[in-house]
C-alpha cells in the first residue's frame, strides 16, 4: 500500500475482482457475531453467483444461521470446512456426508497455531467489523453490531494473504480503539448490516434454576475449595452455560468468605465474571470473546477487562498461552468415558453438534480441569466405555462431578490424596457408570459406516479422532 492509495471499495464484487478470488481458495471468517452473523453467508452467496467452486471455509465457528452453506456444499461451491465448533443444519449435513472433503475440527488455540504455522493457509480473511475506519483499523466495541473483543479474528488478519474488513459502521480515520490494526487490512467494504444484534448476544446470562444442575455446581465448588487452589492470585475459567455459571456463583461465595483475590478469569466472558471483577474478586479479565452486553460494555470501559487473541489464549506453540497459567477450569461433556476422554463434538445420535472450542486447550493448560455434567441426560447415561468421538484426551481431565457422585482421574494421585481427606464422597468413574446404567439400562451402540465425515485435530495439529457417517 503506497501513500495516497485507498482501501475503501464500493462493493463486495469489487473486492472479489481486486482479490482475484478463484476456485479452490480458502477463505476465513470469525464467529464473534455468533448466531447473528450475516457476513459468511453474504460472502459465500456472492462468490457462488460468480460461479466460484471448491471453496474451503475456515470459520472459527459455524452456527445455525449459516444454514445456506448446506446448499453451497451440495452444489460444490463449498467442498471443505475447517472450524472449531459446528452446530445446526451445517453440522447435520456434514454428518450426512454432504461435504466433499472431511471437515476439519480444530480447537481455538489449535486454529491460531495452524494459521500461524501455515498448516492452515488462508487466501482471504473476511473480517466482520462492528466498527472500521477508512484505512482498515477495526474494533468490536462500537456500532449497531457491537460484539466486544475480536480475539478469534487476529490470526486470520495477521496471516491471511489478503484481509478484507466488512463493516456496517464506517468511521473516519482513525477508529478508536484499534483492536485489529490497519497494517494487516487490505480493503474495507461497507455493507448495510454485518449481523443481527439479537443473535450476537444473549442479552442476559443467567444462572440455572435446575435443582440438579445446582447440586452439581455445589459439589464442584466443594471440590475446588478442597483442592487448595482457592487462594490469592488464583485464576479461573468457565463456560457461559447455566451449570458453569452456577459453579462461578459457588466459587464467588467461597472467595468472598475466604477473602481471596484472584489474578484473572479468562475465556469467553459473561456478565457474571464482570460482576466478580467489579467486586474485586479478580484483578483482571482476559477476554477472547464477549458473551453478553454487560461484558461488551465492561470491555469497552474498564482497562482491567483486557483483550486476548485466540493465540494468546490457547496456542500451544507460542512462548506461553494464557491457559498455561489457569488454575481452575470448568468444562462440560456430552459423553465421558472410563479413561476420562471427553466428547463435546458429536451428540448421542452420533451427529456433529459442537466441537472443542477452547475445551481441549483449557483442559491441557489448567491445573484442575473439572468436568461438570448430569450423570443421565434425557434417559441416556453420560459415562461410556469409549466415547463416540474424542474431543479432549482423558489425560488432561482431572475430575468428573455429577449429581450422584464425584470421580477423580486415577492419574491425579495427588488430588485423590487431598480430596479423600475431606468429607467429599469419591467414587470411581466405573462405579458412577454402573450407577447410571442401573437406572437407565445400557443404550445400543450407534452404528457407523467407514466413511469419514470429519477429522478431529488436537490443539497441536495431531489427529485425535475421526467422525464417521452414521448408518
Amino acid at each position: 500500500m503506497n501513500p495516497g492509495d485507498q482501501k475503501i471499495l464500493g462493493s463486495l464484487d469489487e473486492a472479489f475482482d481486486r482479490l482475484g478470488i478463484s476456485d479452490g481458495m480458502t477463505i476465513s471468517f470469525h464467529h464473534h457475531l455468533r448466531n447473528g452473523d450475516y457476513v459468511l453467508n453474504m460472502v459465500v452467496e456472492a462468490l457462488a453467483k460468480r460461479g466460484i467452486k471448491d471453496l474451503i471455509i475456515a470459520a472459527s465457528s459455524i452456527f445455525p444461521v449459516h444454514t445456506p452453506l448446506v446448499k453451497h456444499m451440495q452444489s460444490g461451491v463449498v467442498t471443505g470446512i475447517v472450524a472449531n465448533y459446528i452446530s445446526g443444519p451445517v453440522a447435520e449435513a456434514i454428518s450426512r456426508g454432504e461435504l466433499k472433503k472431511p471437515a476439519i475440527m480444530q480447537t481455538h488455540g489449535g486454529r491460531a497455531r495452524a494459521i500461524e504455522s501455515g498448516d492452515l493457509h488462508i487466501d482471504v480473511a473476511f473480517i466482520a467489523a462492528p466498527t472500521a475506519d477508512t484505512y482498515g483499523n477495526i474494533n468490536g466495541v462500537y456500532g449497531k453490531s457491537a460484539c466486544g473483543t475480536l480475539g478469534y479474528a487476529v490470526a486470520d488478519a495477521e496471516y491471511a494473504d489478503k484481509t478484507v474488513a466488512i463493516t456496517d459502521n464506517l468511521v473516519s480515520f482513525p477508529a478508536c480503539p484499534i483492536e485489529i490494526s490497519q497494517v494487516f487490512v487490505d480493503y474495507v467494504v461497507q455493507v448495510d448490516s454485518v449481523g443481527d444484534p439479537k443473535g450476537i448476544v444473549s442479552g442476559t446470562t443467567k444462572i440455572t434454576k435446575d435443582p440438579v444442575a445446582l447440586i452439581i455446581a455445589k459439589r464442584a465448588g466443594e471440590v475446588i475449595k478442597a483442592s487448595g487452589l482457592v487462594k490469592n492470585g488464583m485464576s479461573f475459567q468457565t463456560g457461559a452455560g447455566g451449570t458453569s455459571l452456577a459453579v462461578a456463583a459457588e466459587l464467588k461465595e467461597i472467595m468472598k468468605r475466604d477473602g481471596v483475590v484472584g489474578s484473572f478469569a479468562s475465556g469467553g466472558i459473561t456478565g457474571y465474571l464482570v460482576e466478580m471483577l467489579e467486586e474485586g474478586l479478580f484483578r483482571t479479565l482476559l477476554d477472547v470473546q464477549c458473551f453478553d452486553l454487560v461484558a461488551i460494555e465492561s470491555y469497552r470501559n474498564n482497562a482491567r477487562h483486557q483483550f486476548m487473541s485466540a493465540s494468546m489464549y490457547g496456542n500451544p506453540h507460542t512462548k506461553g498461552a494464557v491457559v498455561n497459567n489457569l488454575d481452575i477450569m470448568i468444562l462440560g461433556a456430552t459423553e465421558i468415558d472410563t479413561e476420562y476422554n471427553v466428547n463435546v463434538t458429536t451428540g448421542s445420535d452420533g451427529v456433529i453438534m459442537g466441537g472443542s472450542g477452547g475445551h481441549s486447550d483449557t483442559a491441557a493448560g489448567s491445573k484442575l480441569a473439572i468436568v461438570v455434567t448430569q450423570l443421565l441426560k434425557a434417559r441416556l447415561p453420560i459415562i461410556k466405555d469409549k466415547v463416540m468421538t474424542i474431543t479432549t484426551p482423558g489425560e488432561s481431565v482431572d475430575v468428573l462431578v455429577t449429581e450422584r457422585g464425584i470421580a477423580v482421574n486415577p492419574r491425579r494421585v495427588d488430588l485423590i490424596e487431598i480430596l479423600s481427606k475431606t468429607k467429599l464422597k469419591l467414587m470411581t468413574i466405573e462405579e458412577l457408570k454402573t450407577l447410571a446404567e442401573n437406572i437407565s439400562g445400557l443404550p445400543k451402540a450407534i452404528k457407523t459406516s467407514e466413511h469419514i465425515v470429519a477429522v478431529v485435530e488436537y490443539r497441536d495439529g495431531s489427529v485425535i479422532d475421526v467422525v464417521r457417517q452414521c448408518l
Binding site: K209, P211, V212, L214, I215, L376, E403, R404, K423, N438, I439
Partner: protein, 285 residues
C-alpha cells in the same frame, strides 16, 4: 419433605439426590385428571426401580372418595413405599386406608403395619379432630398441615405472613407432640422469596413444628439451615449426653452440668439435637 409430581419421570428419577429427608411422590394435586392412571403406574415403577437410598419415600394418593383413591392405594402399597400421605384426612378416611393396607400387606405377605401413614390436615373438621385422626391408625407417623386448602375451607385469605394459620400450626404442633408423631408445616409457595421462606420456617419452628414441606428443591437448604442446631447447641447437647453417661456409670439418677440440674426433658432435647445434627451432616454419626 419435598413434593415431586408423580407424572414427571425426570423428577422422579432425581428426587433422591435433592437433599430432602423425605420425598412425596404426588398422585393428587400435581397430576391432571387425564394423567392419573399413567402417573400411578409411573410412580409404581419408580419405586420398584430407583434406589432412593436413605430418603423416606412417601406417596400422596388421591382422596378415597374420588374414583382414583382406592386404586392408588391398591397399586402403590404393593410396591411398599415407606409411607402414604392421605389428603383431606379425617377419622373415617384414615380407618379405611388402614384396613386397605392391612389387607394388602396380608395378601402380599408383607410385615403387618409396615407401611406408615401421614395425615394431611387441610379441612376445618380434620384440624378440630386431629387427635382422633392420629389415633385412627397405629400406622400414623406424622401430620402435614395443608395451609392452602385449610384457609380455603375456612373461607379466609392465605397470606405470606401466615397469621391466619397461627392457630392451626399451634394445634397441630401441640397435638403431634402429645401423641409423639411428626408435625410438618405447610409449604411456602413463593419459590423466589428466600427471605420470606426463612421467616416463615423460623416461625413454624418456634411454634413447635418439627419439619416443613417444600414444593421446590431450592428451598431445602434454607429450611435445613433454620432447623439445624447451632454449633453451641450441638456442643452443649454432646456435653449433656456425656455427663449423662458418666452419671449412669456412677449410678446417679439426677445430675448437674455447669451448676444446672439435668433431668429427662433436657436429656431428650439433647438427644434430638444430636440426632438432627447427624442427619444434617453437621457431625459424625
Amino acid at each position: 419433605m419435598l413434593f415431586i409430581p408423580g407424572s414427571n419421570p425426570g423428577m422422579l428419577q432425581d428426587a433422591a439426590i435433592l437433599g430432602a429427608d423425605s420425598i412425596v411422590l404426588d398422585l393428587e394435586d400435581a397430576v391432571s385428571l387425564t394423567e392419573k392412571d399413567s402417573a400411578r403406574i409411573l410412580v409404581r415403577e419408580a419405586i420398584k426401580t430407583i434406589d432412593y437410598a436413605q430418603v423416606e419415600v412417601v406417596v400422596r394418593v388421591n382422596p378415597l372418595d374420588t374414583e382414583f383413591g382406592v386404586q392408588d392405594v391398591d397399586m402403590i402399597a404393593r410396591v411398599q413405599p415407606d409411607t402414604l400421605l392421605i389428603p383431606k384426612a379425617n377419622v373415617e378416611e384414615i380407618k379405611r386406608v388402614d384396613l386397605l393396607l392391612d389387607r394388602i400387606e396380608k395378601e402380599e405377605g408383607y410385615a403387618a403395619g409396615r407401611i406408615k401413614i401421614i395425615a394431611l390436615i387441610e379441612t376445618a373438621l380434620g384440624l378440630e379432630t386431629v387427635a382422633d385422626v392420629i389415633k385412627a391408625s397405629p400406622r400414623m407417623v406424622g401430620v402435614l398441615l395443608g395451609g392452602e386448602d385449610l384457609t380455603s375451607d375456612l373461607g379466609i385469605k392465605r397470606t405470606k405472613e401466615g397469621d391466619e394459620i397461627f392457630y392451626a400450626r399451634n394445634k397441630v404442633a401441640t397435638v403431634c407432640r402429645a401423641l409423639k408423631v411428626d408435625a410438618i408445616d405447610t409449604p411456602f409457595t413463593d419459590t423466589n422469596d428466600y427471605e420470606g421462606l426463612i421467616k416463615d420456617t423460623t416461625k413454624a419452628k418456634s411454634l413447635g413444628l418439627t419439619g416443613k414441606s417444600v414444593i421446590n428443591p431450592r428451598q431445602i437448604e434454607l429450611i435445613h439451615a433454620v432447623f439445624a442446631p447451632t454449633e453451641t447447641e450441638l456442643k452443649h447437647a454432646l456435653r449433656v449426653l456425656a455427663a449423662m453417661e458418666e452419671a449412669e456409670k456412677e449410678g446417679k439418677g439426677v445430675f448437674s452440668l455447669d451448676g444446672k440440674m439435668i433431668d429427662a426433658p433436657v436429656i431428650n432435647r439433647a438427644k434430638s439435637i444430636v440426632e438432627l445434627g447427624q442427619r444434617l451432616g453437621l457431625m459424625e454419626r
